[in-house]
């Protein structure tokens, strides 16, 4: 579940999820939804992101960076993600399937462009049984 928070100039959001995989998927949805309304997108295509990082926070930042790059270079809109994360030798390995379709102005509800996933307020943490993160997008 993602929720947009107040920020004067840009887009700040937080995610609460019951698993790490869900945290990544929902953080991905929130990013996508900032650019194009999720409900207006159909899952006709599938794209893949593979990453590794030494920290969960670094992995999440890289994942969102890569999602943004995919959207902007392949001109695709996403509305769902299937994420798997493995930990091996103190490293985290991510494999994500990103579902969506090519951006079509006639079909999609276009919102605003994103310049970058910033490090301001950026945080991913576990609280009790929940995974949480906070992300600020420069728009």
């Amino acid at each position: 579940m993602f929720r947009y928070l107040e920020h004067t100039a840009d887009v700040l959001y937080e995610v609460e999820a019951s698993s790490l995989e869900e945290l990544f998927a929902d953080a991905g949805k929130a990013l996508s939804n900032t650019m194009i309304e999720l409900d207006s997108v159909k899952k006709t295509g599938e794209y893949e992101i593979k990453l590794e990082n030494e920290s969960i926070e670094g992995l999440l930042h890289d994942f969102l960076d890569n999602e943004l790059i995919l959207i902007q270079t392949d001109l695709v809109a996403f509305n769902d993600f299937k994420v798997s994360i493995l930990e091996k030798n103190k490293k985290f390995f991510l494999q994500a399937k990103c579902f969506g379709e090519k951006i079509d102005k006639a079909k999609h509800e276009i919102k605003t462009d994103i310049k970058a996933v910033t490090w301001e307020y950026f945080k991913a943490w576990k609280e009790k049984n929940k995974w949480k993160c906070k992300v600020l997008l420069d728009v």
Partner: protein, 479 residues
């Protein structure tokens, strides 16, 4: 409250003395009302920038300051070239986001009946909004040439006139640009977006000059009451955004190596003379050139649209470029530091260079007058052409604010009004507005910004800037 640490030291200038790890005091150039409206986060960001190694005189925020990333938006910080650092956050993600102002010899009576046709045609000719690609299909070599040549490259390709370069900071080309330091991903993001306006707060506006504050300077700039002007606001698109993201990751890793400790990781940086610092500066300059070329192409297509609608040449319509300013950039400049002229790296994050008369960087046209500093307001409100004072040079490293500055969150704006209502209200005021996104229109509604009148007045109170002309929008194309 952190704001209370700032005391009025002279009209329009608030200062907080050094404390804890701050290397210099922090200063805010604003009115009391504006200062009181600033978020505590933004003030903390300003204080944090005073920790950056090599910072000179004071960490500065201008009247439009608001919360950014690491640096506040509306921030200026000058670094010693030997001891200091370069921080990508002090430039921002949209490298060389900037504004250019184009003159015409048209009047409101001539343009009013053609406004809708102009805005519709501008939309056809200039791609804007999410997922929109440009008309150019550049090869790798061509993109590299653009990154080296900037607006000069664009003019050589037939986009605009040689005279345009006289009216652009650095003549439209930063010399120390190295496309080899720009990642393949940055190029992949930037290539299809070459010659596009973008979205968010980027716009193209047809305006009318409603007030002239200094007849003599306005005349020298070729501006007069009733005249129609065109303002273009955009930056380096995905290419610049990715250069910033790439080098922020590089700097995050480099800080440990150089033993740099800053209070916020978004303030990541590296010594100017380090390989990381130099690589960033060379990549940043390439992105600066991309943005110069982008605005140059958009100017060319704008001229084409006016030529088509009026059936007259751009020359005949008096469509000369007045000036092009960068408001997200780091530049090597000489400034007076405690009575000695010293080379520093000036970071301007949401701040506009406003050099007064006499600076060698200015083209001959402006060296005796001072450069026009273009301050766009929000959509639907006025914009200003200003000029920096001699005090501006000594106080703020020759910088003024870059706009009105946001005051309301995008979500707050969306909650308050629908895009269709904002459109109706602006159109009721006689403006012709077209946007790629109704939600985007609501997010950029005039009420989401500080009062531009108060912001420019604050500049005059603190004696760093002087109003020359006021421009109100008649037609708006929003990405």
């Amino acid at each position: 409250m952190i704001r209370d640490k700032f005391k009025l030291i002279k009209p329009g200038v608030y200062e907080m003395p050094k404390e804890a790890g701050m290397l210099v005091p922090a200063r805010i150039y604003a009115s009391e009302t504006l200062l009181n409206a600033v978020e505590q986060d933004a003030i903390q960001q300003l204080i944090n920038t005073a920790y950056l190694p090599g910072i000179q005189k004071y960490a500065i925020a201008l009247a439009d300051m608001h919360s950014g990333y690491g640096f506040p938006i509306g921030g200026v910080a000058a670094m010693d070239v030997n001891e200091g650092v370069v921080s990508p956050g002090g430039v921002g993600y949209d490298i060389n986001c900037g504004v250019r102002l184009v003159k015409t010899n048209l009047t409101e009576a001539e343009i009013r009946p053609k406004l809708r046709e102009l805005i519709n045609l501008l939309f056809q000719e200039i791609p804007a909004g999410v997922g929109e690609t440009g008309k150019l299909r550049l090869t790798n070599d061509e993109l590299d040439e653009l990154l080296v040549g900037g607006a000069e490259w664009a003019v050589k390709q037939g986009y605009g006139l040689k005279e345009d370069l006289e009216g652009i900071e650095e003549y439209g080309r930063m010399p120390e640009a190295n496309p080899g330091k720009v990642s393949d991903i940055a190029k992949k993001r930037g290539r299809p977006q070459t010659g596009t306006l973008g979205s968010g707060n980027h716009f193209l506006e047809i305006q009318k000059i409603t007030e002239v504050f200094d007849e003599s300077i306005a005349e020298k700039f070729g501006l007069k009451k009733g005249q129609i002007t065109v303002m273009i606001h955009c930056g380096s698109r995905g290419l610049g955004h990715q250069v910033a993201s790439d080098y922020i990751n590089v700097m995050l890793k480099a800080m440990g190596k150089y033993n740099i400790k800053v209070p916020d990781r978004q303030l990541n940086c590296a010594p100017i003379n380090s390989p990381e610092g130099q690589d960033y500066l060379h990549a940043m300059n390439a992105a600066v050139n991309y943005a110069f070329a982008n605005r140059q192409m958009i100017l060319h297509w704008t001229r084409g649209v006016f030529e088509k609608v009026f059936g007259r040449s751009a020359e005949d319509l008096g469509m000369h470029l007045l000036y092009d300013v960068c408001h997200n950039i780091a530049k090597f400049e000489e400034h007076d530091i405690d009575g000695i002229m010293k080379k520093v790296l000036v970071h301007r994050k949401g701040a506009t260079r406003a050099f007064p008369a006499g600076r060698p960087e200015l083209s001959e046209k402006f060296r005796k007058i001072g450069q026009p500093a273009i301050i766009p307001g929000s959509m639907g409100t006025a914009s200003y052409v200003m000029i920096g004072t001699q005090e501006c040079l000594t106080e703020t490293f020759g910088s003024v604010n870059h706009g009105a500055g946001r005051v309301m969150s995008r979500h707050g704006a969306l909650r308050q009004k629908k895009g269709s209502d904002v459109l109706r209200e602006l159109e009721a005021k006689g403006e012709v507005v077209k946007s790629t996104s109704l939600a985007g229109l609501a997010e950029e509604m005039p009420e989401a910004y500080k009062d531009i009148e108060e912001v420019v007045e604050a500049l005059e109170i603190s004696n760093v800037g002087k109003r020359i002309t006021k421009h109100v929008p008649l037609g708006v194309m929003k990405g």
